[in-house]
């Protein structure tokens, strides 16, 4: 067991892409934790999707040993966290397991929205913060300006921020020294007290089953122990305990202040609750840890197999993915238009994309994704409240007294010159300005926005109006009543349930028009003309007409090559399979999602 004073636990936090994972690489490398030949970039980002997209999705823990200048060897447990706002929950729970944070700031970019969000969380978790200015190898790096910015905008001391290049390795020894000197060791911790451990995370491993990441507060955890999860009540026999270096390595025991894993033949990630307290069944601790608020899905959409015969395969795929990802929810859904599928809830649009990608690639099922929707609260005339996850399920309005929608508090950081465009965008999206401050040439705007206006394409639009210079972060802020209605889309006079959406009265016409225009582009011409309409409660608010196809014939005669023609038609028929039929109209699958990603 390691003496507490020789342990440092910390998370590495930053805005997306500021270099957390690269810094983790250097720390792992300089301490010789991984053999040089096994080193690769963003070593901890081991999921295919992470490697492909170059981002971190799951937080990762590693133990490294560092012989410090004071002559002692320290045990450092680092947690590399994701930067994307969808996975903010990973950051907050990681922070609860450690005592300090390395706040990485890209010295060429400066403080961004997630930098701020992370600092607030770190402060809330009582962390000691060591600011690290990364990427000083870049010509555009301006560490002095960024130091000033950190002090002005965040209000934390930055004169002793460590200047590094995670890419070249410059400054890494200084980071290691700063960790040892400036971050505190774990507080308290009695190895002989009853076991009290925090369930930090759990992940599913195809060979080992569920692996639980724990932080020991008091007591010791050993192989063979019988443990109890205090919230869920589950009891298990511990098969193995160990640490990540970053490969899983068994150890005899884990003591106070240590972070490691346990394996206890738990079947599903769902059987574990992040934030739960783990104790011994025989000799439990008296008080559980406060626990964390569970992450809740905020964006919902329908996933349907393109080939309806693959529904059962889709069910299997979703169930398997859910084993490994407790943050997404699912329930069966039937759509008149799309048949059987699942309504799934996600932490955000990126999370949605990641799950969809994995189903398509790992399980080889082509999917139709319907328009994402948020969860509305329907307050009924009889005083009850219903959650509406799917606009298609909207009940008869005569029973509804009013509708509430989820709102967020959004923080946007942007260079001055783009501020006007950002304010305009927020305005268009029904935003209410809460705050506007300046730090140097950057502005920080805080807005109260409806989540619904943000989920589809807000981030894309923000990036495009600011040429990529703005950053964005948000928190859920509760529900508020507004003038919301269900808009239906009729194609060839038939309503297409999967295209229904909730809209605000003031935005209805505009959205309706944009939808109809987009669908007109996406639906191929047919042999007849097709009216495309948006309607609210039977009243048509927008209309487009897709004119009939005028020409589709093979002009030439290739001698007697009838085979060629037959093959051509077979190919066209296969193309048609990728579309869904609504009455006599074929709608391509892209229409269901891209129709909603529109400039409006």
């Amino acid at each position: 067991m390691t003496e507490l004073s020789r342990i440092r636990n910390f998370s590495i936090v930053a805005h997306i892409d500021h270099g957390k994972s690269t810094l983790a690489d250097r720390l792992i490398q300089l301490t010789g934790t991984v053999a040089e030949r096994d080193m690769q970039e963003q070593l901890l980002d081991s999921m295919d999707i992470e490697r492909e997209r170059g981002i971190t999705i799951k937080a990762n823990t590693v133990r490294i040993e560092y012989p410090a200048q004071d002559g002692h060897t320290y045990i450092l447990n680092l947690i590399d966290t994701p930067g994307h706002v969808d996975f903010g929950y990973e950051v907050s729970r990681s922070m609860r397991a450690v005592e300090g944070s390395l706040l990485v700031v890209d010295a060429s970019q400066g403080v961004e929205a997630q930098t701020l969000a992370n600092v607030y969380q770190a402060i809330e978790a009582d962390h000691e913060i060591v600011p690290v200015l990364n990427k000083i190898d870049l010509p555009a790096a301006d560490p002095d300006r960024v130091r000033e910015q950190i002090e002005d905008v965040i209000g934390i001391e930055a004169h002793d921020a460590v200047e590094i290049s995670a890419k070249t390795g410059l400054g890494i020894p200084e980071v290691l020294e700063a960790i040892v000197k400036r971050l505190p060791p774990p507080h308290g911790g009695d190895p002989d007290a009853p076991l009290k451990a925090m369930l930090v995370d759990s992940k599913y491993d195809a060979y080992l089953g569920v692996i639980v990441i724990v932080r020991i507060i008091d007591g010791t955890l050993k192989k063979g122990d019988r443990i109890r999860m205090m919230k869920t009540g589950g009891t298990y026999d511990v098969d193995d305990v160990g640490i990540y270096r970053p490969a899983m390595t068994s150890v005899k025991e884990l003591g106070p202040g240590e972070i490691g894993y346990l394996n206890a033949s738990i079947k599903q990630v769902r059987d574990t609750r992040v934030g739960d307290t783990i104790t011994h069944e025989k000799r439990p601790c008296d008080k559980a840890l406060p626990g964390f608020k569970p992450s809740v899905p905020v964006v919902f959409c329908g996933l349907f197999p393109v080939d309806s015969s693959e529904f059962e395969d889709l069910r299997t795929a979703i169930e398997k993915l859910a084993l490994n990802d407790a943050s997404f929810s699912y329930e069966m859904e039937t759509s008149a238009a799309l048949g059987f599928g699942f309504r799934c809830g996600f932490l955000g649009l990126l999370h949605l994309e990641v799950v969809r990608d994995r189903i398509e690639r790992e399980y080889d099922i082509e999917l139709i994704t319907t328009a994402p929707s948020v969860v509305y609260h329907l307050h009924m005339k009889d005083g009850t409240m219903r959650e509406l996850h799917n606009p298609a399920d909207m009940p008869d309005l005569t029973h509804v007294s009013h509708i509430e929608e989820p709102r967020i508090k959004a923080t946007i950081m942007v260079p001055d010159e783009y501020l006007g465009d950002v304010l305009k965008l927020c305005q268009e999206r029904r935003g209410i300005q809460l705050d506007l401050t300046y730090a140097g040439t950057r502005a920080m705007a805080v807005y109260d926005l409806p989540l619904n206006e943000v989920v589809f394409d807000f981030y894309d639009r923000l990036k495009s109006v600011t040429k990529g210079y703005a950053s964005f972060d948000y928190q859920m802020e509760g529900y508020r009543e507004d003038n919301l209605q269900k808009m239906q889309i009729l194609v060839n006079d038939e309503p297409v349930d999967a295209l229904s959406m909730m809209v605000h009265r003031d935005r209805a016409e505009q959205r309706g028009r944009a939808m109809c225009e987009k669908l007109k582009e996406l639906i191929p011409r047919h042999m007849f003309k097709i009216p495309i309409q948006a309607a609210i409660g039977g009243r048509v608010i927008a209309r487009e007409t897709l004119s009939a196809m005028r020409k589709d014939v093979t002009a030439k005669c290739y001698g007697g090559d009838a085979t060629r023609k037959r093959k051509l038609l077979d190919k066209q028929k296969a193309g048609k399979k990728k579309m869904r039929q609504f009455g006599k109209v074929d709608i391509p699958q892209e229409a269901f999602i891209s129709a909603l990603k529109m400039d409006s």
Binding site: M527, R550, A555, G560, A562, T563, R566, K584
Partner: protein, 385 residues
Amino acid sequence: MTDADWQAGGFGLYVHWPFCAAKCPYCDFNSHVTAHVDHGRWARALVSELRRNAARTPDRVLNTVFFGGGTPSLMDPSTVDAILLEARSLWPAANDMEVTLEANPTSVEAGKFRAFRDAGVNRVSMGVQALNDADLRRLGRLHSAEEAMAAFDVARNIFDRVSFDLIYARQGQTLVDWQAELRRALALAVDHLSLYQLTIEPGTAFGDRHARGGLRDLPDDDIAADMYDATQEICESHGMPAYEVSNHAAPGAESRHNLIYWRYGDYVGIGPGAHGRITGPHGRLATETHRMPGQWLAQSEAGNGDSLTEPLSLADQAAEYLMMSLRLSEGTDRARLKRLGLEPEATTLQHLSGLGLLRVTETSLSATMAGRRVLNAVLRDLLAG
């Protein structure tokens, strides 16, 4: 199947000559440019292929022969002569056997017309393509409009039946341009015209240019559709209605060979990449020969030029019959279609006739003029399921 079904179509012979003087940028036919062709060897190989095919089509009367390409007018007339002589000895020929040869309208070829006639050719189809030099150049043609007209005059003096091809919906062409060009063509035409809308084919020079964003001034689909409609009207008023999607003739002057394809009759195909449909004791066969000239020659000399001989399922036959016959204004015989196992659903027929695309009677299905313009879509509906 009743005998009447395949006999209704007649029986023809297609001979593919795969060489051209230059490759046209729009063309995706099986055509190749070669410095030297050993005409004697080719003639012998073609004749041996004829014999091989005659053995599996006994008791048939040969109604038509078609020399297509490529550029069959580059053939040695003696090759044409040898093939026709052999064909006549292998099958009894109909009294009025139609023998067509595709010709490129250059002076070189025009000089050979008399020899082709002497060999037995009685109809030529000339690839005029456009009536002005600027457009001919853009189509990569080796002849001028004047040269084409001169060749056409020579042909008219030698053959009773002469047709020519035009390609329209070309780069920069307007509806008015085409209407004027078509009227000029009709004034020149004898009794048959093939009018093809330019199709950009992948794998051709035009296809590549188009994929890279070139060929910008092509008429869009709506203008092309207007051109198609105008073509139908103008030709009809000149007594040359469309009897097929792209083919126009005075009544009785249709290409009988091509009618065999469209009526889904039997035909033997020889030469590189030629297709055949032949009915034998065990049903209908699809045949296909090696596409590459060198390979075809070697295989044919070794005894068999086929790359594929495959029995056709009834379902495939039904689809092919429908696809081919709906191209014709006379349309499809429903009883024959039914014997092949295909009966389109009543609701589909109603829908298509309601849209004014299909004429439905007790005995036949035929595409209206509007229906022919979107025939692929009509076929997709009829064959769906």
